[in-house]
């Protein structure tokens, strides 16, 4: 029979259009952007506090990650040749426009910092660039939270108060993890602490987000998103604790913990991305919260 639509949907068709973004490109972009931003901060600290290897690891990682993320972004464009149009305008209402300008500022700084670190040329300039990257890096890591939250995708928008925190947490964990993985144990203390800090922030904020979003929280717990996010949590917690407890003693433990953290961050980003897709595809996640909101409004006068 021609299905009789239920109260809440038109033949179960989504109300909103799910993003057409390739998960690999965009979740990858989120991850790499976060990794870059937080790595620059670590690199800056390391530079200041005389941890040359950690600094160099951070700078190179930042450049590689930001390069990768930019590549992913361009690749995802429907018209890659027109990527320069991103700088056609400055739009504070567009997180992607703001992000583009942030990237346009941060990218060259991260590049200069890394280049100087690798070649040893223009050390003074390199230091200035390192500082600049360290100061702009957090913006790179944080704005992506707004990028996702400023959409009609229920799982993202409903988390708009937490998503930037979740993302910087995940970024710190990843960057810390990478530091643990690549820098000598002796220099990696701040990386371990950054990872621990990141893991705590991420866990707390994502928990808060899920509690605040009613039925939509299902999308974080079910399906592919659920699997990814459970893995993310396990990896991140294990990596952070492992790093904190054993990372200072064992290179292997540090490396393993670091890798787990990086992987955890990857899973977080892909998990959140998938939760968003799932919430967009099922009209219930759009309609039910809106209905509840309407009911509250009329109930509350």
């Amino acid at each position: 029979m021609v299905p009789r639509p239920t109260f809440r949907s038109y033949y179960g068709e989504p109300v909103i259009n799910p993003p057409r973004w390739e998960p690999l490109n965009i979740a990858g972009y989120l991850f790499l952007g976060g990794l870059a931003g937080a790595s620059s901060v670590i690199a800056g600290g390391a530079e200041l506090t005389g941890r040359p290897v950690l600094a160099k690891v951070g700078k190179v990682a930042a450049l590689a990650a930001i390069g990768g993320s930019a590549a992913a972004l361009v690749k995802d464009l429907g018209r890659p040749a027109r990527f320069a149009n991103m700088l056609r305008t400055v739009k504070p209402t567009s997180p992607m426009s703001v992000g583009s300008w942030i990237l346009a500022t941060y990218g060259p700084l991260a590049g200069a910092a890394a280049a100087s670190a690798v070649t040893g040329w223009f050390p003074r300039l390199g230091r200035a660039a390192t500082a600049g990257a360290a100061l702009t890096g957090p913006a790179v890591a944080a704005y992506t939270g707004v990028l996702l939250a400023d959409t009609a995708v229920p799982a993202w928008h409903e988390a708009h108060r937490q998503l930037p925190f979740t993302f910087i947490g995940s970024a710190a964990a990843a960057a810390g993890g990478l530091g643990m993985l690549l820098a000598p144990v002796a220099e990696a203390g701040p990386a371990r602490r950054a990872a621990l800090f990141g893991a705590v922030v991420e866990t707390v904020s994502s928990g808060a987000a899920e509690r605040g979003m009613g039925i939509v929280a299902e999308t974080y717990r079910q399906g592919r998103a659920g699997t990814l996010l459970r893995a993310a949590k396990a990896l991140t917690v294990a990596g952070a604790l492992g790093g904190a407890l054993f990372g200072g003693r064992s290179r292997t433990a540090a490396a393993l913990s670091g890798a787990a953290l990086v992987a955890g961050s990857v899973c977080t980003r892909f998990g959140i991305f998938e939760a968003g897709l799932a919430s967009a595809r099922d009209p219930k996640y759009t309609v039910v919260p809106q209905r509840e909101r309407l009911a509250r409004r009329s109930g509350g006068g």
Binding site: M1, V2, T89, V90, T93
Partner: protein, 1082 residues
């Protein structure tokens, strides 16, 4: 670009320096955006046109740039459409300029396995040669000793998609060649309308027009899916609704029309005579008829011959039935003391009773000739204006319909009594002096073995209620194709000459005198038949038609019995018809029993197809279903096939006649490209070639062709004949060549020529009146200065009936025309359909004839008694009154006349092995099937399945079933079903929907299955054709096929493939006992 400018055009700079700080508007505009211009604004020309799809006839503006059509949209000035277009009209650009068209001539040689290229000139030469060869081989001077002067070797099908001018040339050329098997969609579409309305009112066109529906207080849509099949016309229903009118829809299925109706009633397909008969009974029993109207304007008071016996007396048949020939002798049906014109009554001619009881004459579809001019009666019957005389029409009517009780309606139609009575009351309450009800129908009524009588039933009801000829009243026959009305008026039909003059019949028409004597009436305008006929002959044979040679009357070939498209198919199978022109018709999909259509074509020597693309009727030899099943082998098929690409409506000038009886001119916007040519071009040049080839021939056979007037001016590099010159000939001229202005100018002395008398006036003053386009906002609602309507630009016909016998409007609310005593003429909103200066108080003197015999209270001026016919004393071959009969295939007995299941004179082709019928009661085929249209597709699909924008909206063939039937048969939503009849089986996707309702009657549940019939195997969207399942089971008056009600079985899953398919059908037949029941029983 300078740096300054570059910076200046950078949105960031503009954001910083201008008002659009956030970069969401003015600052971020691109140069492309600033330069946007619509192509409607940059066009070189806007050409006025008309939508080529349906008979609503929506106005179109065609935008041309650089000799290309760049856009087509609605013409806001049109009073019919007001600028709107349905999806089909909106897809006209893709239809005409898209990839769905071929622009090359193709040729398939006998036994060939593929197409070959041929150039246009060669192909035309070859076709001309074949025409001459076949004509010579099959020429027939006489048959059974009677002059025929014809060939039955050649046939032509199609015309409803063509311009009037093209139809005119086809009929003229082929008639001169002696070809009589000329047919078009009108046969399969609305032929029963012409007979039904013609015998009731004197003309076969709808009595009103779309825009007038806005004045209705109640609109009954029955037998039409108005909103889907005439979407832009439906705006007038919505307009009425917005003004408070009630809309009723009675239909087997809940359609998009039902969705917008106030009341919807599901009904069993094939039972409307019972339903309408029930309303007639209600109106009579409860005295809800409009007595003053009925007494004065209908034949209610007339007394009927004592010989007449009704179905009440004869167990469901009328007097005069000959059970052997299955044919009525209608002589007993006449009025008391009145002689019926020979042809009209199918009776004896002045020279003897040759046609009495002659099925051949009855089969000649003569009832269709009442499309303009009712049956001829001679004599003055007695009347009883008290309506109490037992033999008065009124009393006969009352007795006849007395058994059509609400209980009966419930048991026959499946409509619950209370719902039925509610509708009765609604209609009655909205009729009378102050209010009017309009009936709208289309092929849900026409396509039955009792199709003509369906229309008659509605006519009776509307006459009783006093709704004919009045604003917001009437019967609107919603016609089909863009010019199907035109192709009936200028008929590419076997039984008619232009203007509903009958084709001469071998048995009754030996010369002009006998021809006129047999058919002309002594009273009313039809008494001028001689003037109309002579003028036609003058238009065709000019100076060669003289009083001395009977105006070349003998040049006309004669018909003998039926040469309808269905008979032609059988003639093809029999090897008698060898050459076939298909010009804009696709019988392999659109005609009943598609398989027989193809088998007919496979027996031809040659076939010419003119269309936009390779429709199924052009490629069946290669990829038809019979090739798949192995019943035919391509290599064995000897038929030679020519494909000629046709020009589209934007590529030629000409007129379409829409459902308002209105001619509208469309102007060529561009020349056709490639080898595409207009049909006007094709027939003009074919005729020219034939005449060249025969030049100098002294064979008497060739004289009509050689003496034919055939000298139309041509224009342009393609030598396109002037359509306007053809229109001028259709309109006619006087001896001095001055265009005539009205059919009242026509003379029988040969001093006038006129190609179609009812169109006389369309070229009045030498002006193409059909091309008039005064915007609707600048005139009253009748839109009199937009296009030109027959007759004489009258929009509502029989409008005399909108005023009381004294000539005053029945009510102010419903004023249309009125008698202006001072001026001594009729005045009104519309051109009055009455002699303009005839006073309402005029009474003809004793013995008056012709127009002088029309009394001041005779609104039906084409009827021989001036009255609307509640009872048809002549003109129809299956009875003077409608009676409910079951469809040929029906699951139920006839409750109303238990001894008479189906129409006793329905036409069957029982002997054909591919045209078998289900046994009475359905047997193994228990479900009722009905077929219909979807808004998104058009007819046999030639103009929609090749158009992606339309095809994607309804991409697949499907059938609709109720959840109950789905459960009974294990059908699943979107799954496949196989549907099988006594003839064939097809598959369709299933839509299970509550819009289909099982009906309860006679103690059982009747399930109906709905199927659109648009699909076929070719094109962009493909599927099985519904018409693989339908049969040749025809209405006896006009040979229209019963495709609105037959029976089938339905099974889950796809149909068998290859040879397994016919085997499956045979197995089913055996199980159902088809062979034991030839279908003819009662």
């Amino acid at each position: 670009m300078g740096v300054r400018r570059w910076i200046g055009s950078w949105p960031v700079y503009r954001q910083l320096t201008g008002p659009d700080r956030l970069g969401r508007g003015a600052a971020v505009r691109s140069r492309h955006t600033d330069g946007l211009r619509p192509r409607t604004g940059t066009a070189d020309a806007v050409v006025k046109s008309v939508c080529p799809f349906c008979a609503v006839g929506c106005g179109q503006n065609v935008y041309v740039r650089d000799r290309q059509v760049v856009q087509i949209e609605g013409d806001p000035d049109s009073p019919v459409s007001r600028g709107r277009l349905c999806p089909k009209g909106s897809a006209s650009l893709q239809l005409t300029t898209g990839d769905g068209r071929l622009h090359q001539v193709l040729y398939r040689r006998p036994h060939g396995t593929d197409w070959e290229r041929l150039d246009l000139d060669t192909a035309l030469e070859m076709v001309a040669d074949r025409v001459l060869r076949t004509r010579a081989e099959t020429w027939q001077w006489e048959s059974d000793g009677k002059r025929t002067r014809r060939t039955l070797g050649i046939a032509s099908l199609g015309g409803a998609t063509l311009d009037n001018e093209e139809n005119y040339l086809i009929k003229k050329l082929f008639t001169a060649l002696g070809v009589v098997q000329i047919e078009n969609q009108a046969r399969v579409c609305h032929s029963s309308t012409v007979a039904g309305l013609g015998t009731s009112f004197g003309r076969g066109g709808g009595t009103t027009y779309l825009q007038d529906l806005q004045h209705a207080d109640c609109i009954v849509i029955e037998g039409s899916n108005f909103a889907e099949a005439h979407p832009v016309g439906f705006q007038w229903v919505m307009e009425a609704k917005a003004r408070g009118a009630k809309v009723v829809h009675v239909d087997p299925r809940f359609s998009r029309t039902s969705a917008l109706a106030d009341v919807y009633l599901p009904i069993r397909a094939g039972s409307d005579i019972a339903f309408l008969g029930g309303i007639i009974r209600y109106v009579i029993e409860h005295e809800r008829y409009f007595r003053e109207y009925v007494v004065n304007y209908t034949n209610a008071a007339t007394l009927v011959s004592e010989e007449f016996a009704d179905t009440e007396d004869l167990d469901g048949v009328f007097s005069g039935l000959n059970p052997q020939t299955r044919h009525y002798d209608p002589s007993s049906w006449t009025y008391e003391g009145v002689r019926v014109g020979a042809a009209a009554g199918e009776r004896g001619t002045p020279s003897g009773d040759v046609a009495k009881d002659n099925p051949d004459v009855a089969r000649s579809a003569h009832p269709e000739s009442h499309g303009f001019g009712g049956p001829a009666l001679h004599g003055q019957p007695p009347t009883d204006e008290t309506l109490r005389h037992p033999r008065s029409v009124f009393q006969i009517l009352k007795r006849h319909f007395s058994r059509y009780t609400p209980e009966m309606v419930e048991q026959v139609c499946g409509v619950p009594q209370d719902a039925f009575l509610e509708v009765c009351e609604l209609i009655a309450a909205n009729s009378g002096r102050e209010r009017t009800t309009a009936f709208c129908y289309a092929v849900g009524w026409t396509q039955h073995t009792v199709g003509t009588q369906y229309i008659r039933t509605a006519a009776i009801l509307q006459l009783l209620l006093g709704n004919i000829g009045r604003p917001g009243g009437g019967i609107l026959a919603l016609r089909g194709h863009a010019s199907i009305q035109g192709s009936s008026d200028i008929p590419t039909l076997f039984d008619l000459l232009p203007g509903y003059i009958p084709m001469p019949h071998t048995d009754v028409h030996s010369d002009l005198d006998s021809f006129i004597a047999a058919d002309a009436a002594s009273k009313g305008y039809w008494s001028n038949m001689r003037a109309y006929t002579v003028s036609l002959l003058k238009a065709w044979w000019g100076a060669n038609a003289t009083a001395g040679n009977d105006y070349a009357f003998d040049y006309l070939p004669r018909i003998s019995g039926s040469h309808s498209t269905y008979d032609t198919v059988l003639a093809q199978r029999a090897g008698d018809c060898k050459g076939y022109f298909l010009v804009g018709e696709n019988p392999a999909v659109g005609s009943a029993n598609a398989k027989l259509q193809r088998l007919g074509m496979a027996s031809l020597e040659w076939l010419v197809v003119r269309d936009f693309n390779l429709i199924e009727s052009a490629t069946w030899w290669k990829d038809g279903p019979e090739i798949e099943t192995g019943e035919l082998r391509t290599e064995d098929i000897a038929t030679e096939v020519f494909f000629f690409p046709a020009a589209a409506h934007t590529e030629k000038s000409g007129s379409f006649t829409n459902t308002n009886r209105m001619l509208q001119w469309h102007h060529a916007a561009v020349e056709p490209s490639g080898e595409a040519r207009s049909d006007l071009w094709f027939y003009y040049h074919l005729g020219r070639l034939l005449r060249e080839k025969l030049a100098g021939s002294t064979d008497e056979r060739d004289r009509p062709l050689l003496e034919l007037t055939w000298d139309y001016p041509t224009q342009g590099a393609q030598a396109e004949p002037s359509a306007e010159a053809v229109l001028a000939e259709i309109n006619g001229w006087d001896a001095g060549g001055t265009p005539l202005s009205s059919y009242e100018d026509l003379r029988e002395d040969g001093s006038t020529a006129c190609g179609c008398w009812i169109y006389c006036g369309v070229y009045r003053d030498g002006v193409n009146q059909a091309a008039r386009r005064r915007p609707w906002r600048e005139q009253n609602w009748t839109g009199a200065e937009w296009g030109w309507a027959w007759p004489a630009n009258r929009r509502t016909i029989y409008s005399r009936a909108s005023a009381d016998p004294d000539g005053r409007p029945w009510s102010e609310r419903k004023a249309l025309v009125w008698w202006d005593e001072e001026a001594g003429r009729w005045d009104g909103h519309d051109v009055v359909d009455f002699p303009a200066t005839r006073s309402p108080h005029y009474r003809p003197p004793e013995g008056a004839t012709g127009v002088a015999a029309i009394s001041g209270i005779d609104p039906f001026i084409m009827q021989s008694d001036g009255k609307g016919w509640l009872y048809a004393p002549a003109g129809l071959v299956d009875g003077p009154l409608p009676a409910h009969y079951e469809p040929q295939e029906s699951p139920l007995p006839n409750l109303l006349y238990p001894k008479r299941r189906a129409n006793p004179v329905r036409e069957l082709h029982t002997t054909h092995p591919d045209n078998l019928y289900a046994p009475p009661g359905g047997g193994g085929y228990p479900y009722v099937i009905t077929t219909y249209r979807l808004t998104e597709h058009f007819t046999a699909g030639g103009m929609s399945r090749w158009v992606p924008y339309l095809a994607e909206l309804q991409p697949e063939f499907f059938c609709e079933v109720s959840p109950e039937l789905a459960a009974e048969r294990g059908l699943t939503h979107l799954g496949w079903a196989t549907i099988v009849t006594a003839r064939n089986a097809i598959e369709a996707r299933v839509l299970v929907t509550e819009r289909m309702t099982p009906l309860t009657m006679q103690g059982r549940t009747v399930h109906q299955i709905g199927m659109p019939y648009h699909w076929g195997r070719n094109g962009y969207s493909t599927g099985d054709s519904a018409n693989e399942l339908s049969a040749f089971a025809l209405d006896a008056n006009t040979h229209i096929q019963e495709v609105k009600a037959w029976t089938a079985d339905i099974l889950p899953g796809r149909r068998p493939r290859g040879p397994a398919l016919p085997e499956f059908v045979r197995r089913h037949r055996r199980r159902a006992g088809v062979q034991e029941h030839p279908g003819q029983e009662r």
